[in-house]
């Protein structure tokens, strides 16, 4: 059934992605592909993997954006011009348009936890759900002819054969800087929900009215370069020198 759940799901499993700490290493992209090519549904195929025109199916991609405030082009002046690494995967929207457009019932949103999934045995590969998604979260697998998307590693998070610390999405488990967090955003007392409140987590494209579950944490404000620069360069500063160096400093000053 591709109608959305009648009542909003109480449990909202999702990700919180911290744009302040992501270093853009793409480790989550690779670990996602590795886990999911052998996990839920058909494999994530590559086309011409060793040829010139290589491409493939990915459920998670990292974009890097340059963000420049007015006057931020001048280094050290306005201070905040910066590069932000931006991981992007399915946001498991509450009002997911990809689900309602599906003609076959292959796309659905789980009532128990809000995860948006594709039943690949029902998918005809029409591609309309990818057109309906503003975030580019769905990619057609050209080998299998079915739509692939982030499953929030549904085959990990409930998998009792895994150790407790591994029962999180592969991207979260892999991230070397803890930029990705997994939890229940429907529970106001969960770590992720508290994090969102404290850091001012936001929705992507709220104007599309999809009510994404995943939230993004904004980069923290930075001091401008000129502010952090000491007035006397460190190499020329002898303040606080003690013992032999203090004597040497004084002696040399006197000469």
């Amino acid at each position: 059934m591709t109608s959305l759940p009648q009542n909003r799901t109480a449990k909202k499993l999702g990700l919180v992605i911290d744009l302040d700490v992501c270093v853009g290493c793409h480790a989550c992209v690779i670990s996602c592909k590795e886990w999911n090519t052998g996990g839920y549904g058909s494999a994530l195929s590559d086309q011409h993997p060793y040829g010139e025109d290589v491409s493939g199916t990915f459920l998670n991609r990292i974009h890097s954006f340059e963000v420049a405030p007015e006057g931020g082009q001048i280094i050290g002046e306005a201070g905040d011009a910066r590069v932000v690494h931006f991981p992007k995967s399915c946001l498991h929207c509450e009002d997911a348009p990809c689900v309602t457009v599906c003609p076959t019932g292959a796309s659905y949103k789980r009532t128990e936890d809000g995860i948006v999934l594709v039943d690949e045995d029902k998918c005809i590969g029409c591609g309309l759900c990818a057109w309906a998604c503003a975030y580019g979260a769905r990619e057609m697998d050209l080998a299998a002819g079915v739509m692939k998307k982030c499953t929030l590693c549904v085959d990990r998070v409930y998998n009792e054969t895994l150790k407790q610390e591994d029962r999180v999405p592969s991207c979260v488990r892999t991230c070397p800087v803890n930029a990705r967090h997994f939890g229940d955003l429907g529970d106001p007392n969960s770590d992720v929900a508290i994090m969102v409140v404290e850091r001012g987590g936001f929705d992507l494209m709220p104007e599309q009215e999809t009510r994404p579950t995943n939230k993004y944490l904004p980069p923290r404000p930075r001091k401008s370069l000129s502010e952090s620069m000491p007035i006397i360069p460190l190499a020329e500063n002898t303040e606080g020198a003690r013992g032999f160096f203090a004597w040497l400093d004084k002696t040399l000053d006197r000469i």
Partner: protein
Amino acid sequence: MHPAYSIIVFTTLSGLGYGLAVVLGLGFLDPSLLMTKLAYLTSLALISIGLAASLLHLGNPQRAWRALSQWRSSWLSREGVMAIATFVPLTLSAALAIFADRHDVILGFITVLGALVTVYCTSMIYASLKTVDSWHTKLTPLCFLLFSLAGGFLFASAFVGGNALVEELLALLFVLLALVAKLVWRNRATTLLPISTPETATGLGFIGKVRLFERPHALDNYLTREMGFRVARKHTAKLWVIAFVFGVALPILALLLAMTIGEGLTAQIALVFSVIAYVLGILVERWLFFAEAKHAVMNYY
């Protein structure tokens, strides 16, 4: 958006087929004439070819029957259901005309209703997508319906041949109405401000202007191929002129010529010519409909 040939052929041909079905359902054509029987078969053929073409772009066409199940939420599913449902009164009307030289008013009325609703559902597949600003308007179904009706009356005029003043005048009227609707649609599409921007897409607008620094992959992926189509945009202006000349100017000239001549072979040839020109014009228009459409996901690329 990527203009898939199968979808362009589908929306064009089935749109024309349903337009012709509307004219036939309204009983404009005398069911005892051979040409009317041919018109019925043409309408059925256009719709069938269109629907068959629509299956070609599917990744797994063998499961297409499943697309009839989600009519509660999906316009694509509704379109499939209506397309198949409309076959019933249309085929019955065709059989009645071919074997009994009769036109049944009630069957005709159901055909008209079914055909119009099907075209509306087709257009709503696109108009319901909030991700494509230029499609997301009530003008999109209006344009699809008017193009369909204009095509239907042009086809009907060609089948009647000479002395089809009513059909010809209605064809003229609907071509002009479709032109006006499309011009309003296009004016909106070219002047609208996109609802999503790189700033809202990343949520980083509070810092400043957002610009892509590095793509996730060096080469194209499914998203950039499907949503980031650019080839036709380069030739947009020329293609618009071509669509106008073939879809509007030539059919109107041919109609006026046929109306002045009245009847005979020349009038018939002019009317057939108007149909051919119109189909070509609509194919170009449909190509542009997809190729010019900008998708919100491209804010990330």
